[in-house]
Symmetry: D2
Subunit: 260 residues, 4 copies
C-alpha cells in the first residue's frame, strides 16, 4: 500500500508564537522521517465541557495564522469548522476543512464545507455505526465534494468512555472511503474528570500502532511540547519529544502489515 500520511499539530491555537513553534518542530521531524503530513490546530473549542474553558482566537485570526504557517512551510493545513459561516471564512486559508464529530450529521454544515471546493475531513460521530458514514459520503458527493476523508475517533462505550473498534477502519475502507484514525481523541474519557474531558495519553501511541496495522490511509495525532500545561486536551496529546520515534514505528508497522 501507499505510504500513510499524518495529520499532526496541537489541539488548540494557544497563541501565534506557540503555533509557529509547534509547526516548525513538527516539520523538522517530518523531514527527518520522510513522512507526508498536514498541520492541524483548532481556532475554537466550541463544545467544551465547561463554559470556563479556553476556546481560542476565533476563525478569522486562527485561519490567518494557519494559512501563513502553511505557506511558509509548504505544508497543507487543516482545522475544524463549526458553522456554515465559519466554513466559508476558513476556506480562504485552509486546505482541509474538518467537520467535528458531534456535527457530522448537520446537513447544512456539510453542504457549506463541500461548496467551498476544499477537501473535507468528517470526524465520525461517537454515536455512529461505521457503515452509516456512507450516508455522510453520499451527502458530500451530492454537494459536489470529490475529495474527502472519514476519521474514526471512537464510539460511545458505556458512560464516560469510548472504544476504538478496529473493525470500523476495515469496514469503512471496504466501502471505498479513505479512512484516518484519530489516536488522541479515541483515548478520551469524555466528562471523566468532572468539568473537563479526561483521557489516557499513554494509550494514544498504543492505539495508533494498532490502527496503522489494520491498513488505513493515515493517522491523526495531536502533539504538544508540554502536554501537562496544554490549554485543552492536555492528557491525551503525544509529547512532542516522543513524536519522531512513534512516527518511525508507525511507518515500519505499516510496511510490515502490507507484507513489504
Amino acid at each position: 500500500g501507499p505510504a500513510p500520511f499524518f495529520i499532526l499539530g496541537p489541539c488548540a491555537l494557544e497563541s501565534e508564537s506557540f503555533a509557529w513553534e509547534m509547526a516548525r518542530s513538527i516539520d523538522e521531524i517530518a523531514k527527518r522521517t520522510g513522512i507526508n503530513y498536514l498541520f492541524k490546530a483548532s481556532y475554537d473549542k466550541a463544545n467544551r465541557t465547561s463554559v470556563k474553558s479556553f476556546r481560542g482566537p476565533g476563525v478569522e485570526e486562527g485561519c490567518r495564522i494557519l494559512g501563513e504557517i502553511g505557506k511558509e512551510l509548504g505544508v497543507p493545513v487543516t482545522t475544524d469548522v463549526h458553522s456554515p459561516q465559519d466554513a466559508e471564512i476558513a476556506a480562504e486559508h485552509i486546505d482541509l476543512l474538518q467537520i467535528p464529530a458531534f456535527l457530522c450529521r448537520q446537513t447544512d454544515l456539510l453542504e457549506a464545507a463541500a461548496k467551498t471546493g476544499r477537501a473535507v475531513n468528517v470526524k465520525k460521530g461517537q454515536f455512529l455505526a461505521p457503515w452509516d458514514t456512507v450516508n455522510i459520503a453520499d451527502k458530500l458527493r451530492s454537494f459536489e465534494c470529490r475529495n474527502f476523508l472519514i476519521t474514526e475517533r471512537g464510539t460511545t462505550f458505556g458512560y464516560n468512555n469510548l472504544v476504538a473498534d478496529m473493525r470500523s477502519l476495515y469496514w469503512m475502507r471496504k466501502e471505498g472511503l479513505p479512512v484516518i484514525f484519530d489516536a488522541t481523541h479515541s483515548v478520551q474519557r469524555p466528562g471523566g474528570l468532572g468539568g473537563t474531558t479526561g483521557g489516557d495519553g499513554e494509550l494514544a501511541p498504543v492505539l495508533a500502532r494498532a490502527a496503522i496495522a489494520t491498513g488505513i490511509d493515515g493517522i491523526f495525532m495531536e502533539t504538544h511540547s508540554d502536554p501537562a500545561n496544554a490549554l485543552s486536551d492536555g492528557p491525551n496529546q503525544i509529547p512532542l519529544e516522543f513524536l519522531e520515534d512513534l512516527l518511525v514505528r508507525l511507518v515500519a508497522i505499516h510496511h510490515a502489515a502490507h507484507g513489504a
Copy 2:
C-alpha cells in the same frame, strides 16, 4: 408528586393545515384527560440521515405557524433550534426552545437560546453520561437561563441501537434537574434502515410507562394521525388514536408510583 406534563405533537411541520389538525386533536384529548401539555413540531429536520429526506418549512414560517396555534389554543409551544440565529428568530413565537441532542454541547447555541429569555429544553446527547448534564445546566445558568429541562432520549448502545437507561432519569433528578423522557426517540434504531432512521414504534408506549413509573417531571412523545405516511420518524410516532388511552395510563402509573 405534582402531576406530570407532556410535550406532544407530530415530528415535523408537514404542512400548515396538518399542524392545525394535529394540534386541535391533541388539545381535545388533553382537555378530556385533564393533562397539561406543550405542543411540539419541528420546522427543520437538520440532520437527516439522507440528503434526500424532507426537511420542513424553515424557521420563520414554522415558528409563525406554531405561534398562531399556541395563541389560538392557549397552549405553550416548543420546537428545536439548530443555530444561534434560529434561536433568536424562534424566540419571538416559541415558549420553550429545544436544543437537539447532537448539539447539546455547542456552547454558542446554548448561549443564544439562554439569552432569548425563553425556557430551554436540552435533549441529552446519545454520547453523554447522565451526570454530565450538570455541565450543561451550569452553562445555561451562567448565561442567565433559569428555566430549563433536560430530556433523556437514549444512549448509544452498540451500533444502530439506543438504550433508555431508567437509572439516568433518577440520577439527573437527584442532581436537581427537571427531567423529561422522550419516549419516541428513545426507541429509534439510528441508521437501521439504510438511508433513514428506523425504530420500534410499538415500544414507545412501553418505555413511556417505564419512565413515568420511575418518577419524572414529564414525557415527550411524538404523535401522528397516520404514522405510516409521516414525512419523518414515521415508525416511532404514537398513532393519534392510541394517545388518549396511553395518557390515561401514564397518569395512573404516575399516581401509583407516588403511593397516591
Copy 3:
C-alpha cells in the same frame, strides 16, 4: 393481566436462623399485601469476585433449610444451582431451580435442571441479546422442561456497569416467554468496588417500578433486614423495612399499566 408474582429473599443463606427470620418476615408482609411469592436464598456464591468472600452452607445443607422453610410456611422455594450434580441434589427440596446468568448457555446444566422435572428459572446472561433467550427456551423444551421462566438482570454496558433495557422485557414476552425482572442484580456495578461487586441499592426500587410498568410476569428482589452487614451483595438488597411499601406500589403500578 393476571397479578404479578414475586421472588423474594436474602442473597445468601447466611445462617439457618437468619433464613428463618427473613422468611417469616417476608411471609407476613406477603400475607398483609396479598401477593404471591417464592422464597429465595443462595447456598453457594460460586463466582464471587474474590476468593476470600463468603460462599454459604453448600447444596445439601442449604437445600434442606430451604425445603423446611417452604414446607412450614407453605410457599414454594427457589435457589441457584451451579452444576448438574447440584441440580439433582437441590431438586429434592427446591420447587424452582435457578440457572445463574454466567451459566445460562451451559447445555449440561440446563439439561440436568430440566431432567429433574422441577420448574427452571434461567437468568439471562449479561452478554445475551433478548431474542437469543429463545435458544435457551428451545434447549429446555428439548429436555422436556415445560415450566420455565427467563429473568432479565441487566446487560453489559461499557466496563463495570450494567444497563436494564426495558425493551428486553417486552421483546421476550412477545416471544411467548414468561419474564421476570431482577431488580437487585440489575443495579450491580460489577467489579466496581475492587475486590467486591458494588451497586446502587437505592436504584433497585426505581427499576422495579419501571419494569412492572412495562407489563411483565413478576419481579425478583433480594431483601435483607440489615443490608449494610449482609455477607454478600449488601449494597443492592432492598432493606426489609421498605419492602411492604414497595410491593404495594408495584402491584398498583401493574394495575395502572394494564388500564385496570
Copy 4:
C-alpha cells in the same frame, strides 16, 4: 520484546484423523516461519447456541488424542475444560488448561485447574472489565497457580456484537499479566445467525495485526483447512492456506512495533 508465541488449531476435534492432519500442517508452517506455538482443539463445545449442534468426542478421548499429537510433534497442547472433574482428567495429557470465558469467574473451576499444577489460560469474560482480571489472577495465585495467561476475546457491545478493545491488552499487561489476544473469537457476532453463532472471518487477521502491534505476548487463532465445512465456528476460523502469510506479517509487525 521477546518473540510472541501462538496458540493455533481448529475449533473442534472433529475427528482423530482431522486433528492429526491439522496438527501436522500447522507444525510444518511453524517450522518454516520459526514461530513458537501450542496446538489447540476442543473436545466438547459445551455452550453451543443450539442443542442440535456438534459437541465433540468428550474429555477422555479428546485429551488422549491431543496428548498423542503433542508427544509425537514435540509441541505443548491446550484445550478448554468446563468442570472441575474435566480439569483433573484433562491435566493428564494437556499442558495448558483453558478456562472458557463464560466460566472465568467460577471459583471451583479455577481452583481445580490450578490444583492440577498445569499452566492455566483464562479467557476474559465478555462481561468483564480489563482491570477485573486482576481478581482472577489473585484467585489463581491463591490456589498456587504460578503459570497463567489471560486471553482477551472481546467485550459485549450492544446486542449480538463484541468489540475488541485494544486498550484492554495494554491495561492488563500493565498489571503484570501475560496477555494473549484471541483473534478468531473476538470477531464473533454472538447469536447473530439465529441458531448458531456467526462472525466476520475476514476480520480475524485485521484484529490479529492490530493486537500484535500493541505489544502483547501472543495470539490465539483458530484455523481450519476448510472453514466453510467446519463443524463449529466455521465463519471465523483462518483458512489454513492463509496462515503462513499471516504469521509472517504478525511477527514482522511485532518487531516493527518494538522498534527492532
